[in-house]
Amino acid sequence: MVDGQKHEVLQNVNAVFPQNSISVILGKSGCGKTTLLRILANLEPCDQGEVSIKTDEKIGFVFQEPRLMPWLSVSKNITFGLEKQKIDSEEIDELMNLIGLKKFEKAYPHQLSGGMQQRVALARALAYDPSIILMDEPFAALDYFTREAMQNELIRIHQLKKKTIIFVTHSIEEAIAIGQNIFVVNEGRIHAHINLEHHEYPRDVLSPSLIEIKKEIINKLA
């Protein structure tokens, strides 16, 4: 509801996100991709239709912004969602090393750069140990190199921990770099499903076959 008027954001969306794979929801700004993700995370009500996830699955969510608690140190932010007795300090240490912020565990969010904060947010989602991680353009605000490093990090984490990742982005390059299944969303509908499972990581986004795919996606989005 915006200004008393009802807006239909999504219609007839029908998608199956495969387990243990990186699925990317790709679309232009305002096409409803974030809404779709928020419905999956139960942050937004859905008027019609249903979302079926195995009930025992834990879902993690990484937002567009880091959304760290400004009053907690990095390590406390990472363990934020955990109960005290469930905190495994070795595991947290491992996570700190994974995101490369071991030296900053006692720092506060305002002392970190945007990219570092986003890495902490990712670690927080991982510490929660979900089997599904939903990510809403988590790297959109980062510069090219940090972004690429974070994408590789994500792929590494995925290969290491075998999580189901559903990743929303408006960047075609990003989708092609990390996605095993790409769902192209346009005007509230899924226009295409592109399977890239046979492309091994690390991918060269500039290789001819991937450029072909990029052209195909651009046509679908236009």
Partner: protein
């Protein structure tokens, strides 16, 4: 020049001017006693314990009234901050009483509860409740909904979200409200004691005035000022322990 010297310069000038005025008897000693006389009165009042009795009486009332007001302000602040839909019921009443100076209620309070401790404590509660209530309410109401969503996706229930997100994010506002409320309490108690009391710093000043002891009046004013500054300093030190760059150090987990 370091800051200590900068701070002392205006005080030294005032003291010198004051000494000169009383030395040349610009005004009679009855109107303006000399600094030395004020100092001697101060020392003798310290020695016979008179001063401590009054300080203790005022401080006692402030602590009692302020604590009660804080409990009310905290509970009602939570309700008001987290349930804005209830505001039509109380908002106009709060606005009304916020604009009524507590001292104007003294005639009624004396009539209802007498001139004992109760009337003074009620005055302090009335004076310090509103700044605390409004700040605490603002603290709870302005919690970032984006942070609350983080709690939601991490599976925290309503109680956990309150303790781990809403409360810590409200702490700076709560402390600010307490600081302002404490200042208001001091002002209100001195006023209340000047109208109806048999002890306390306000009473002491008024009593000295009727006895034409200007030196005691000045001692009373200086003590009130020093106590106020001291309270504020202690409070700043305590709140620094809790806050860190607009947030709170790891003290709420």
């Amino acid at each position: 020049m370091n800051n200590m010297i900068k701070r002392l310069i205006p005080i030294a000038i005032i003291l010198v001017a004051w000494s000169l005025c009383s030395y040349f008897e610009v005004w009679s000693a009855y109107i303006l006693p000399s600094p030395l006389q004020v100092w001697n009165t101060f020392i003798s009042m310290l020695q016979n314990g008179e001063l401590f009795i009054h300080i203790f009486a005022s401080l006692n009332r402030v602590v009692a009234g302020f604590s009660i007001a804080f409990v009310f302000a905290f509970i009602l602040g939570i309700v008001a901050g987290l349930k804005p839909s209830l505001s039509p019921y109380y908002n106009h009443i709060v606005e009304f009483f916020r604009n009524v100076p507590p001292l104007s209620l003294i005639p009624l309070l004396i009539l209802w509860v007498g001139i004992g401790e109760e009337s003074k404590i009620i005055i302090i509660i009335l004076a310090s409740f509103f700044p605390m209530f409004l700040n605490i309410k603002k603290g709870f109401a302005s919690c970032d909904s984006k942070l609350l969503e983080v709690g939601k996706v991490l599976g925290l229930n309503t109680g956990q979200r309150f303790l781990k997100i809403i409360l810590p994010s409200a702490i700076p506002d709560i402390l600010l409200g307490m600081k302002v409320g404490l200042g208001y309490s001091w002002r209100a108690i001195i006023g209340a004691e000047m109208i109806a009391a048999a002890s306390g710093l306000g009473y002491f000043i008024l009593d000295a005035q009727t006895m034409s002891r200007s030196d005691k009046v000045i001692v009373g004013i200086l003590v009130i000022g020093f106590l106020g500054v001291l309270c504020d300093k202690v409070f700043s030190i305590v709140s620094k322990k809790f806050t860190r760059m607009g947030g709170i150090k790891d003290s709420w987990d």
